[in-house]
């Protein structure tokens, strides 16, 4: 009994400590960011790494989602005799929910693992200490650039995923029952406002912030040898995916309250 309470207490304690460390880390990054010099070259490198290099993966994921939605939704809509709602169902669900969430999860898998492993390896091989010793702020040089790159690139990746999803959704739909792209888009966006399009797209910036923060944090607090590197890679993927989904729940509610 006593041991159970002790273990629950220690778990809660570790959880709170983790959040405290995350907050401190975030403060460090923010404080370092406002000081010169700005790491422009590193930022571009990270934008490319996180943005354009993730594009094929995100586009493929979006396309797959579009095809699956078109085929799955069709059968259930046909049952209700609401086949004409198919474009609206596909387009609306992609731009509203599926595109942003799938992008967030795919990027958290690819980028979260990459950042966690890279920074973890630098930490255990004491490269971060070396950077610090050479007078460069590692929070600014390593963490801030990556976090900003995630925040900037995720909405763009979401747009790419939306586009591929809608296109493949149209193609899958046309293969079953021909419909012109113009009519598909026209029907799909019937009754769609900017709030339905822009708010879900740009809420992925929050996903980017979560992914970048957690991946950098987990990487930079790596302990032990190569086993620690693997652990922080895994934990950064798991935690960033988890927090992306949790944040999505909250953000959907927030968007519904403020943008509709």
């Amino acid at each position: 009994m006593r041991s159970t309470i002790t273990s629950v207490w220690s778990l809660t304690n570790r959880f709170l400590e983790w959040f405290g460390d995350l907050g401190f880390f975030g403060w460090q990054v923010l404080r370092s960011a406002v000081r010169r010099p700005f790491e422009g070259r590193e930022l571009i490198r990270q934008l490319d790494e996180i943005g354009s290099r993730s594009f094929p993966l995100v586009a493929l994921a979006g396309a797959a989602i579009g095809a699956v939605l078109a085929l799955e939704t069709r059968s259930s809509l046909v049952q209700f005799g609401a086949k004409s709602m198919l474009p609206a169902a596909i387009v609306f669900s992609i731009i509203h929910e599926t595109g942003p969430v799938v992008t967030g999860l795919v990027v958290s898998g690819r980028v979260g693992a990459g950042i966690g492993a890279e920074l973890g390896a630098m930490k255990v091989t004491e490269q971060i200490d070396a950077i610090e010793a050479s007078g460069v702020n590692p929070y600014k040089f390593l963490a801030f650039t990556r976090i900003v790159a995630c925040i900037l690139m995720l909405p763009l990746l979401t747009l790419a995923a939306d586009f591929c999803g809608v296109m493949v959704g149209w193609i899958a739909n046309t293969l079953v029952e021909p419909i012109s792209f113009h009519k598909f888009i026209h029907q799909g966006l019937a009754g769609t406002s900017f709030n339905d399009f822009l708010a879900p797209t740009f809420r992925t910036s929050v996903f980017g912030l979560i992914i970048g923060m957690i991946a950098c944090f987990q990487g930079m607090r790596t302990q032990g040898g190569t086993a620690g590197v693997g652990l922080s890679a895994t934990s950064s993927v798991v935690l960033s995916s988890l927090f992306v989904i949790l944040a999505d729940v909250i953000l959907v509610k927030v968007i519904l309250v403020f943008f509709s």
């Binding site: 943005g51 790419a160 009754g191 900017f194």
Partner: protein, 376 residues
Amino acid sequence: MSRAARLGAFIIATLAILAAGIFVIGSKQYLFTPTYRLKAEFATVVGLDAGAEVRVGGVHSGTVRGIELPNKPAGKITVLMDLQRSTHDIIKQDSVAAIETEGLLGNEYVSISFGSAQALNVKDDDTIASQPPLVIADLIKKADGILDTSQQALENVTVAAANLSSISGKINQGQGTIGALVNDKKIYTQMDQTTVGLRDTVNHAQAGVAAFQENMEAMKQNVLLRGYFKKRGYENSSDLAKNEIMELPQAPPLKTFTFESKQLFDNVDTAKPRNQKSLRAAGQFLADTEFGVAVVVVSTASAGDTQKDLVLTQARAMVVRDYLVANFSFDDAQLKTLGLGKGKNLSPDSSWGTVEIIIYPADTEAPTQSSAATPR
């Protein structure tokens, strides 16, 4: 491809997607085309949302920009609509806005009807007339009412049918007047007996009439009454037209005997014969000659009552015919009479009228005998 170029391409491509999305959605909301604003007031908008379509003649040509609740209970909900400039020539001040639904489950949209040609143009921010939307719940209520009414009607029909059935049952069982008529054989038998009785009565009546006729005949022979008939020259008025024909045959006559009525009859207004022997020549001719048809044609002078003269000429013709038939031997069916009624004064001697016996050749047929009853 350098890293920067790859990044640039990625950013441009995704921003292009963003721009396209914004443009497509914006154009559906008529953000990038010139528009004008119209208002319409409704008691209920049945779930119409801002951003819903506005259709003019079924064509998507505008969007609902906003929906404003009234600020007092008696007010109406105002729907603000942005419409494409191009509809400005179609929508007039007498156009009517209505909220409609795509199918049963579809989105609500505002439909605006075309205006009439002579109506004034709408201006920006004008309020046009509206039509209350069709609320499915109300429709169901109405349908429910109709169902209730028709159910009552059906119940009434059922009651009426039950009544009819009861009536026909009663008829079948022989209750009531019609039932008795339909079912009771007694009535038929009675009617049958009545008919027999009626027939007997008629027979008796006929016998009575015959007896009466005989009595009449006897009375005519009676001394007291005989004078009247004798003076009139004939007894039975109903025989007057017995052998009469309507018109003379078309064929040319074989021979014509003409007599003055003055020589043959007792008085100017009677058919009582006198000096009938002067007819002998004619009678002899009829007896000796093969003839087809002979006609006794009688006319009076122009003076006197038309109807009375007609009867008189018929009577005189009959009297002459009776004499000839009684005294000479020929086929009496071939001798016809023709009473002409009033004639013309041919000469001073014929002021009583004339009697002609016109005899036609053997092959002449008498014209179709008119019925004696035919009024002349």
